[in-house]
C-alpha cells in the first residue's frame, strides 16, 4: 500500500520535473515570462487521450502530443515575439484561458467538463505499462532523456544565445543574432516537452478533464521554477521533489479534502514568499528575478 503510494508520488515527480525543466528553457534560460505552459500541458494530454482512445499506438500518441504542443508554442511565439515581461505574461496567460475554454466547451471533441475517461495504459516494445511500477520505469526513462536533451541545449551555442537574449536582447541583436527566431525555437521546444508531460499524465491518470489544466495548475510549476532557481536544472529537480512532497503530510492529519486543497495553495504561497525574501535567486539559481 505504502509502496504504491510512493510509486504514485514518484510518477508525479517525473511528470512535474518534465514540466518544470521545460518551462526553465523558455522562462529561466530565454527570459520569456511564459504563462502558457499549462495550456501546452493540456494540448499534449488531450491529443494523447483522443488518439489513445481511437486505438493509436503509444509512440505515435506521445510524439504527436509533443509536436502539436510545439506547433501551438511556435504559433503563439509569432504574435508575442515583440512583447516582454508583464505584457508577454498577460498574452500567454490569455492563451492558457483560451485553451482552457476550448477544452471546457468543445464538447463534441473533449467531452467538456465530463472529461475523457478510460484512456488505455500504454503497451510498448511488448511491455505493458498498466502496472504502476512499470509506468514509473517508463516515466523515469522519459524524464532522464528529456533532462539530458534540455541540458545539452542549454550547454550548446544555441543555449548560450538564449541566455544572451534573457540578459540583453538588444546586445544579442547587435551581435547579429535573429532573436525572434531563437525565441520561437525556445518557446516551441519548451512546449514540445510540456506536451510530452501532458501525454504521460493522460496515460497515467487514465482520465482527464479541464480541472487539471486550469490556471491554478500553473502555480506549482511556476513555484518549482522560482524555488529551484532560474536557469538551474538540478535546482528544478530538487524543488520539484520538495513541492510535490511538502503538502503530502496534510493527508495523514485527517483534514477533509475541502481543507487540503486550499492548504496546499497556502503552503506554496508561503514557501514562495520565504524563498523570495531570503533567497531571491532560488536554491541554485544564478539569475535574479526581475
Amino acid at each position: 500500500m505504502i509502496d504504491a503510494y510512493f510509486i504514485h508520488l514518484l510518477i508525479l515527480i517525473c511528470i512535474y520535473v518534465i514540466l518544470a525543466i521545460s518551462l526553465q528553457l523558455s522562462l529561466g534560460f530565454t527570459g520569456l515570462l511564459n504563462l502558457a505552459h499549462v495550456a501546452f500541458f493540456a494540448i499534449g494530454a488531450y491529443a494523447t487521450a483522443l488518439l489513445a482512445l481511437s486505438g493509436y499506438p503509444f509512440w505515435l500518441c506521445i510524439l504527436f502530443a509533443g509536436v502539436l504542443a510545439a506547433l501551438f508554442g511556435y504559433v503563439l511565439s509569432i504574435p508575442t515575439n515583440k512583447l516582454k515581461g508583464d505584457y508577454l505574461a498577460l498574452a500567454t496567460l490569455g492563451f492558457s484561458f483560451v485553451i482552457y475554454a476550448i477544452v471546457l466547451n468543445w464538447i463534441s471533441l473533449t467531452n467538456g467538463p465530463m472529461g475523457l475517461p478510460g484512456i488505455p495504459r500504454p503497451t510498448f516494445l511488448g511491455i505493458n505499462f498498466s502496472n504502476n511500477n512499470n509506468f514509473f520505469m517508463l516515466s523515469i526513462f522519459v524524464t532522464v532523456i528529456i533532462y539530458f536533451v534540455i541540458y545539452s541545449i542549454t550547454k550548446s551555442p544555441l543555449g548560450k544565445v538564449m541566455e544572451a537574449i534573457r540578459d540583453d536582447e538588444l546586445a544579442a541583436r547587435s551581435l547579429g543574432k535573429n532573436t525572434k527566431k531563437i525565441k520561437s525555437i525556445s518557446m516551441a521546444t519548451s512546449a514540445f516537452f510540456a506536451g510530452i508531460a501532458g501525454s504521460l499524465f493522460a496515460y497515467y491518470i487514465t482520465f482527464i478533464d479541464p480541472t487539471s489544466f486550469s490556471f491554478s495548475n500553473l502555480i506549482p510549476i511556476l513555484s518549482i521554477v522560482i524555488i529551484g532557481g532560474l536557469a538551474s536544472l538540478p535546482g528544478t529537480v530538487f524543488a520539484t521533489i520538495i513541492i510535490i512532497l511538502l503538502p503530502e503530510p496534510l493527508r495523514f492529519i485527517g483534514f477533509p479534502s475541502s481543507v487540503i486543497g486550499p492548504a496546499r495553495q497556502l503552503i506554496y504561497a508561503m514557501l514562495l514568499l520565504i524563498i523570495l525574501y531570503y533567497k531571491p535567486k532560488g536554491f541554485y539559481g544564478k539569475v535574479n528575478l526581475e
Partner: protein, 243 residues
C-alpha cells in the same frame, strides 16, 4: 565603404542629427568628436539600426541600411561597441565571446553536441582573448569583472563578430591610462591589418594618437572635418569646446 547622406533625426522636436553627411574610407581610423549632446551616439545608433533616420540614407557597400533590422546590419559586417556595458552578465567571459562568433549549427546539432567547428571557434576566441591581454580566467562570470576588464571583453566581443567596419562608442571612457594605451595599441594593430574603424571619444590625446581623420559635431551638425592637426586648430571647434 560607408556613406551617410544628408541624414536627420529628431527627438520630439529636438534635432539630434541635422542634415549630416559623412564618408568613411576603408582602412582608416575615423574619430567622431564633439561636446556632450552633439549627436555622436545618435549617428552610431542610426548606422547600427538601433534607431531609424527621419531623412537621408546610409549606404554601406552598396546596401541601403535605412530599412534594415539591427541583426541584418550586424550580419552585413558592422560591429558595434556600446557606450554603456552591454555584456551578458550571467555568462562567463568565454560564453560572451562565443556568442559573437557566427555559428550556424542546427537545433539537432545543438542537442547532440555536434559542433564541427567547435575547435576552430575556440581557437579564434583564444586568439582575441590573448590579444586583448584579458587578465581574468575566461570561465569567470563577466558580472565579477572590474570595469576595465569588462571593457576589454566588450571590445574583444566587437572584434570577434565577423565585420568590415568597427563602430566604437567611447572605447576608453573610464579606463586607466595603462588600459587606454593598450586599447590604442590594439586599434592601431587592427588598422595595420586593414580594418576600418569609426569611434567616438572625449579623450583628445587618445583620439589624436590613433585617428587618421576627425569629424567634429556640435548641436547635431558637422562643424569640421579633416586631419587631426588641422581640426584641432579650427576656430569653430575651439568655440564649440571652449565657448
Amino acid at each position: 565603404m560607408l556613406n551617410i547622406e544628408k541624414i536627420s533625426k529628431n527627438f520630439q522636436g529636438v534635432k539630434a542629427v541635422d542634415n549630416c553627411s559623412i564618408k568613411i574610407e576603408k582602412g582608416k581610423i575615423t574619430a567622431l568628436i564633439g561636446p556632450n549632446g552633439s549627436g555622436k551616439t545618435t549617428i552610431i545608433n542610426l548606422i547600427s539600426g538601433v534607431i531609424k533616420p527621419d531623412y537621408g540614407k546610409i549606404i554601406f557597400e552598396n546596401n541601403n541600411l535605412s530599412g534594415l533590422s539591427i541583426e541584418k546590419i550586424a550580419n552585413l559586417g558592422i560591429s558595434r561597441l556600446f557606450q554603456q556595458s552591454r555584456l551578458f552578465d550571467n555568462l562567463s567571459i568565454k560564453d560572451n565571446l562565443l556568442i559573437a562568433v557566427n555559428n550556424n549549427s542546427s537545433l539537432i546539432d545543438n542537442i547532440l553536441g555536434l559542433n564541427k567547428i567547435a575547435k576552430e571557434i575556440d581557437a579564434k576566441i583564444k586568439t582575441v582573448y590573448d590579444m586583448m591581454e584579458i587578465k581574468e580566467s575566461w570561465d569567470k562570470l563577466v558580472s565579477e569583472l572590474s570595469y576595465g576588464q569588462k571593457r576589454l571583453v566588450e571590445i574583444a566581443q566587437t572584434i570577434l563578430l565577423p565585420h568590415k567596419l568597427l563602430l566604437l562608442d567611447e572605447p576608453v571612457a573610464g579606463v586607466t591610462s595603462l588600459l587606454r594605451k593598450r586599447i590604442a595599441k590594439i586599434l592601431l594593430e587592427l588598422k595595420q591589418k586593414g580594418e576600418t574603424i569609426l569611434f567616438i571619444e572625449h579623450d583628445m590625446s587618445f583620439t589624436l594618437d590613433i585617428a587618421d581623420d576627425i569629424i567634429v559635431m556640435d548641436a547635431g551638425k558637422i562643424i569640421a572635418r579633416g586631419k587631426p592637426e588641422n581640426v584641432i586648430k579650427d576656430k569653430k571647434v575651439l568655440e564649440a569646446y571652449l565657448g
